[in-house]
C-alpha cells in the first residue's frame, strides 16, 4: 500500500479534490474518530474541565469536531491550504493556522493543556520523490533538525504536566528510535505505546509524551489496550454475519423449480403459442418418481 507521504508533500498531495475526498470518506472519518477518542483518553485531562488543545496537522477538522463534542477549545494547524479551506467550509469552531510543524510553533510558553496528532513521519524526513524538493537547501530538509525544532517548540508551548499524544505508522525501527530519542532530548518524558500489539489489523502506535511534571502528580505511562491478548472490538466480531444468515434463510425457502404446477404452466404457454407440438397431459405428468431403492 502506498503512503500519501511517499507520493508528494501534503500541501500538494491534498489538493482540492483529495481534500474533499478525504473528508467525505466514511472509513477515514471512523479511523480519525477512533484515534481522537483514544488520544483524548491518553491525554488524561482533568474530568469535566474544558481544555485548550492543539491539533497538529488538523486537516479538515475531523478530529477537531470530536474535541468540540467533548467540550474542549482547540487550535488546529496544517500545511495544506486546501484542507484548511474544507475545514473552513465545514464551519469548525477551532482556530486554524497555515503552518509547517517542522518549522516549529509560534506559541507562547505554557499555552496548551494537551496536543494530539496523527503523525506522518515522512513529513519530517523531507525526502520527496519530487526532485525540486529534494534539491532544496539541506538545512531545511534535514529531518533531525525539523523533528528537534518541532519537539522543542512543542515542549515549550505545553503547560507543565501536559501531555502530547501522536498516533503514527512507523516504517522501521530506526524511525521509532529517532522520534523517541529526539523527544527525550527536547525534555519530554514518556515513550511508545502499542495498542493491540498482537493484532495485524488493529495494531496502533502512539507516542505518549509528558511535558514535565505537574505538582503533586507522578507521570505514569498509560496502559496499552489488548496487551493481554484481547482483540479489537471490530476485529473480534465477524463482519457481515447478519447478512450471511439472511442469505442462507432465503436459499432455504426456495422450492424445487420443476414441480407439477410449473410443468403445466409451461405446457399451457407453449400450447397457446402453437408453434410446437406439446405432449398430452396424463396422470403421469409431473408425477414424483419412486426412490430407486
Amino acid at each position: 500500500m502506498s503512503r500519501p507521504e511517499h507520493i508528494a508533500p501534503p500541501e500538494i498531495f491534498y489538493g482540492e479534490t483529495e481534500a474533499v475526498k478525504y473528508t467525505e470518506n466514511s472509513r477515514i472519518a471512523a479511523i480519525q474518530a477512533e484515534m481522537a477518542y483514544r488520544a483524548l483518553e491518553l491525554l488524561n485531562l482533568p474530568e469535566d474541565e474544558p481544555a485548550y488543545i492543539l491539533d497538529i496537522g488538523c486537516g479538515s477538522g475531523l478530529s477537531g469536531e470530536i474535541l468540540e463534542e467533548e467540550g474542549h477549545i482547540w487550535v488546529g494547524m496544517d500545511i495544506a491550504p486546501s484542507m484548511l479551506d474544507v475545514a473552513k467550509d465545514r464551519e469548525v469552531e477551532g482556530d486554524l493556522f497555515l503552518q509547517d510543524a517542522g518549522q516549529g510553533m509560534a506559541f507562547r510558553p505554557g499555552t496548551f493543556d494537551g496536543a494530539i496528532r496523527y503523525l506522518k513521519t515522512k513529513r519530517f524526513y523531507g525526502i520527496w520523490e519530487i526532485p525540486w524538493l529534494c534539491n532544496a537547501d539541506k538545512q531545511i530538509n534535514n529531518p533531525k533538525a525539523r523533528i528537534a525544532r518541532f519537539f522543542s517548540t512543542l515542549y515549550s508551548s505545553l503547560r507543565r504536566g501536559a501531555r502530547a499524544v501522536f498516533q503514527f505508522y512507523p516504517e522501521n525501527d530506526d524511525q521509532i528510535q529517532m522520534l523517541t530519542d529526539t523527544a527525550s532530548k527536547c525534555g519530554f518524558e514518556g515513550g511508545l505505546l502499542i495498542d493491540y500489539p498482537n493484532s495485524k489489523k488493529a495494531k496502533k502506535y502512539y507516542l505518549c509524551l509528558f511535558a514535565g511534571q505537574a505538582d503533586g502528580h507522578k507521570n505514569r505511562m498509560p496502559t496499552a489496550l489488548g496487551e493481554d491478548g484481547s482483540e479489537h472490538p471490530a476485529v473480534a466480531s465477524v463482519e457481515f454475519e447478519k447478512r450471511r444468515i439472511k442469505e442462507r434463510r432465503r436459499t432455504d425457502k426456495r422450492r424445487p423449480v420443476k414441480d407439477k404446477k410449473w410443468i403445466m404452466h409451461k405446457k399451457e404457454t407453449v400450447r397457446a403459442r402453437g408453434d410446437r407440438a406439446v405432449v398430452a397431459d396424463s396422470k403421469y405428468t409431473g408425477r414424483k418418481r419412486k426412490p430407486r431403492f
Binding site: 474544558p50 487550535v75 500545511i79 486554524l96 516549529g104 509560534a106
Partner: protein, 123 residues
C-alpha cells in the same frame, strides 16, 4: 482567528526572541461569531492570558468593555466573564495581517486563517 489565539501567538522567526509579542494587528476585518459560554474554561484560561496585551488588542479592534486589570473576584464575577467571553472567544479576525514588533515579519491573515509559514532563511 479568535483573540484568545492571538494572545498566545508570538513571532517565531529565527533569533527573534525579545519583544516578539504581541503581534501587531493591521488592516483587520473583525467578525463576531457566537459561541457557547463556558465559565469553567474562562476561569482556567484567565491566568494564562497576557492581560495588558489582550486589553490593548481589544481596544485596537474597538472593544473598550474590558477592565484595565483583572478584577480580584474574576472567577465568580459573571458579568466580567461574559465580557471576557465575547472578546476572547467570539471576536474573530477574518482578514488583515499581523506584524512582529521586533523583526517586522508580516503574517498575512486570509479568511480567518493566518499564514505562519516562514522562508528558508528565517528558520
Amino acid at each position: 482567528m479568535r483573540l484568545i489565539t492571538h494572545n498566545m501567538l508570538q513571532c517565531h522567526v529565527k533569533n527573534c526572541n525579545d519583544n516578539n509579542f504581541p503581534l501587531r494587528l493591521e488592516e483587520v476585518e473583525v467578525e463576531l461569531i457566537e459561541a457557547d459560554f463556558q465559565p469553567e474554561f474562562l476561569q482556567n484560561i484567565v491566568g494564562k492570558l497576557e492581560w495588558p496585551a489582550f486589553v490593548n488588542t481589544a481596544v485596537q479592534l474597538g472593544n473598550t468593555s474590558l477592565p484595565a486589570t483583572i478584577p480580584d473576584n474574576a472567577k465568580d464575577n459573571e458579568e466580567f466573564l461574559k465580557v471576557l467571553h465575547s472578546a476572547l472567544l467570539e471576536t474573530h479576525v477574518q482578514q488583515g495581517k499581523m506584524v512582529c514588533p521586533n523583526c517586522s515579519h508580516v503574517y498575512p491573515i486570509k479568511d480567518g486563517i493566518p499564514n505562519m509559514l516562514l522562508a528558508e532563511h528565517e528558520i
